[in-house]
Amino acid sequence: MRLHPERGLGLSLRLVLALAVLVFFLFPIYWLAIIAFKTPEEIFAYPPVWVPENIQFANFLVLFKDGDAETVFNSLFIAGVSTVFAMLLGTMCAYSIARYRTGGNLFSDWIISNRMIPPIVIVFPVFLLFVTLGLVDTYTGLILLYTAFNLPYVIWMMKGYVQDVPLELEEAALVDGLNRWQVFVKVVLPMVRGGLFATAVFTFVFAWNEFIFALILTRNEVTTFPVQVTHYFGGQSNFWAKIAAMSMLGTVPIFIVVAFLQRYLVRGISLGAVKG
């Protein structure tokens, strides 16, 4: 409860404004969704049709029949596996930094500075490296790259969560005769479960939505869904139905995942700047 609510704009006026804002931010998603369900006639009707007469799934079925929908599974596999690796390696590193000050501030700063390098700068030498190693257009290549790309974020976030774990618990466990690794696995990890979850979600979303790396490092074997979407762009004749349907296939899963994890949203999105 805040003091003097009557001093602000009137409630009804704020509600109207809030609805207007909501419409602006949701309308594009609504438009994308209805195109995915429209018939070609309605997509290319003039003036544009705002509420489709008949909902149909042909645009999606085509993607599954042609195998284009497999790119969603590529995305799922690559983002999933790289998230597991990044979480594992990142949390270990974060624990060492948080508890032992390993490497001091300089090391922490160096870690996070890796996050600031633009992908286009990294991807160019990485591409040449991957050509040498035969990793272009392989799951291994993209998984390795996304793991590395997400590590600074995971380390930064998990460092914050580990620092919140009361030290007494770990001390007690050490006195009880657990070794340091056991303390990490049996005491610390369960304590930061919430943080692991929150961080993993955003790690997954980054990898899932990423475009430049995937554009350059995949050909046709492990194409991810954002790259597949751009395959339908072409001069004058865009395959609108396919663009929209493919985009929906790649977007809805993320919405569903995050809907269950709303309370982690703020901290995860802000690199831990806001403790939530």
Binding site: R99, L144, F211, N238
Partner: protein, 308 residues
Amino acid sequence: MTQADPFPLSAEAGARPVRRRPRGTGFKYWMILPAVAVILLIGLFPVIYTAMKSVQNITMFDQDFSYNGFIHYKTLLNDTRFWKALAHTLIFVAVALPLELLLGLAMAYLFLDRLPGRPIFVTLLVLPVLVSPIVAGATWRLLLDNRYGPINQIIGWITGTEQTLLWSVDPNLVYPAIILAEVWQWTPFMFLLLWAALQNVDQSQMEAAELDGASWWRTFRLVVLPSIWPVVAIAVLIRALDLFRLFDVVWALTKGGPGTMTETISIYAYVQGFQQFETSYTAAMAFMVIIILAVTVTIVLRKIEIDR
């Protein structure tokens, strides 16, 4: 205390766990080793490799690995297309970032007080942030289509005449189109952070300021802003760095066109490296970008710390 552990027992309870070197500190290094190895391979190696390639002379036709001096850097200094790309990038940062910040702040205030259905509003408003940027770009391309998009239709309703604005081709409209898509996708990000930060502002200070009869602006400047400043700073930093690497939305909307009008640094580097295969030249460009970024970020961070 027989245990040679890194944790100070009760004597120092509450103190930070930094230590007199315990036995077996190998553990802490084993814990960081895998992460560091991966980051070195994919983070540090590329930077060094880029620096090396940039002083050689490798093109699609010529695999010349000999030392070539700083010729590519000299060329780069005279490459107007590079400086234009840098300017375009900075325009996007300079226009989109303040817009996102101000709109995000306005929205944060709008949702600060109690409002029916507020949690649902906030959750739904964040959806654009979760959309893949390439999908966001594609979506706006559909929305802004000159004939089958609803935006021209809406503008037509307002102006009373049919509109066929060519948003992704017309030189006067490509910037507004890209910025619109960027602002749509990332204002909710600013909103979410500022909204959370505003809720942590000390209410008693606010009340004291109100009792003193301070104006809204004065209260904002002296009470609210200092309190939310750390969050504002990190949000602006994250977004500035993101906008500096802008690629996806432009790629989906204009591919840098018409001509090279909306070409950003990332897109120009992509064209040079992966369409022209100017390996060494691209490397020089990439290294230049790293230097520009490192210098800027260092200066800005210093400035922020001095101001505090």
